[in-house]
Amino acid sequence: MATGEMIAEGPLRCQVVTPERVVIDERVDFVAVPLDDGELGVLPGRAPLVGRLGFGELRSRSHRGEERHFVDGGFVQVRDDVVTVLTSRAVAVTDLDLESARAELARARALPGATADQLREKSRALARARAMVRAAERVA
């Protein structure tokens, strides 16, 4: 990791780590992460932060253009211009399947919501499926 390369390649380092492996590790100009309550943009020089992620799109911009990934909850840590996203699953938006996302949404709608626990489970599943459908629709 030479210093010259850092300047040419973009000032931010974006890492996406899942329990199985490091999915993305690249230099970018800008990252937007889907926090629990809305999107958060990170530019170089951002103050350190730890945040909880919701379901949604992780957008990163670099000289290669914009890349979008769907992330499945988790955390984000920003320090020293390194953005680390910890999530159980990260898929490129182009790999999402609209049909299966819609099926997921239908399944989430059909979940029982009688008790408080079930309701919490259901709203979580709904939020996840909706975010997935939204992301997939934007590509389709």
């Binding site: 329990p19 958060l40 945040g51 909880r52 910890l86």
Partner: protein, 310 residues
């Protein structure tokens, strides 16, 4: 020539067996490298989680979460025994099974009702043979357990624990320490210890001979600890972190088991190949002797016959 031919036949079959065990050894060593690679890659996540717990500061130790809640006395427990689907792996499955059975017997003496969940066909065979009751059987895990599969299992255990259906969750598996040392152990995953959140566990990278490939997760500590902003707040981050940490710990058990299985098979098959080599050598010796004595006998007969004619 009857005896010599029988020996030749035997030698040939031993040679064939040697070919098979040698191939299995090579396959196991290739799979071992892959499994270890996966285990090393998976470490990045654990390390980062531990880092975030560190970032949260003291909040980590005073957190209360249903998964951290210790219940005394323990009345019901669940024991997950992780074995392999395939055999010919030396003592691998037997060791795990013995460790699990010991814990089961301890639990029974302590009056803890224990449900056994078995992963892998080998474990199922053992349990059936010894007459242990099994409550669940999982055969879908092969030498590449995925996080998604483990996640399903973890979600169910988490639900049972929170609902009070079980008071403890134990896992019997083979822990991978180094390429030369694996150990069948039983660990308790639930209730979780608050301290275990901040542990990232020993690094596997050195067991691999330094070729870590996980530079991405190398700690980037520079200067004094940064003061973080928290979105939305420490509490809610920890609430989310505890269940994920549990899942990752269970996932690590599966990854360790997969690596250890391949090593055990590799060692067992290496032993089998060496034994076959030795057998081939001794059979060759026997064959040569038999052939020699046959020639001697024939010569003696000819000489005997010609002497009688004189």
């Amino acid at each position: 020539m009857a005896k010599a031919r029988a020996i030749v036949k035997r030698r040939k079959s031993v040679q064939n067996i040697r070919k098979i065990t040698r191939t299995m050894e090579l396959i196991a060593s290739a799979r071992f490298r892959k499994a270890l690679q996966r285990a090393v890659e998976a470490e990045a996540f654990t390390r980062k989680i531990a880092e975030i717990v560190g970032d949260l500061g003291g909040a980590a130790t005073e957190v209360s979460h249903p998964l951290l809640e210790v219940r005394e006395p323990v009345r019901r427990a669940r024991l997950v025994v992780i074995t392999s689907n395939r055999g010919l792996a030396g003592g691998y499955n037997g060791n795990v099974f013995r460790a699990g059975a010991r814990r089961y017997q301890e639990n029974t003496t302590d009056g803890i009702g224990t449900l056994i969940d078995v992963v892998g066909k080998r474990g199922v065979g053992f349990m059936k043979f010894r007459g242990y009751p099994m409550s669940n059987v999982f055969l879908q895990f092969d030498d590449r357990p995925t996080y998604e599969q483990v996640n399903e299992l973890a979600t169910e255990y988490e639900r049972q624990y929170v609902a009070g259906e079980i008071d403890r969750l134990d896992v019997a598996y083979t822990r991978f320490i180094t390429a030369a040392r694996q150990e069948a152990t039983v660990t308790s995953l639930l209730p979780m210890r608050a301290a275990s959140l901040a542990e990232s566990g020993p690094s596997l990278a050195r067991a691999k001979g330094g070729g870590g490939g996980s530079a991405a997760a190398a700690p980037q500590r520079r200067g004094e600890p940064a003061s973080y902003e928290f979105y939305p707040d420490r509490r809610s981050i920890l609430d989310e972190l505890v269940p994920i940490s549990f899942r990752v710990q269970l996932f690590k058990c599966f990854l360790d088991a997969a690596v250890s299985e391949q090593i055990a098979r590799m060692v067992a098959m290496k032993g089998a190949t060496e034994n076959a080599d030795e057998m081939i050598r001794s059979l060759t010796l026997q064959y040569n002797r038999a052939r020699q004595s046959q020639i001697t006998r024939e010569l003696a007969e000819i000489i005997g016959g010609s002497a009688a004619l004189e």
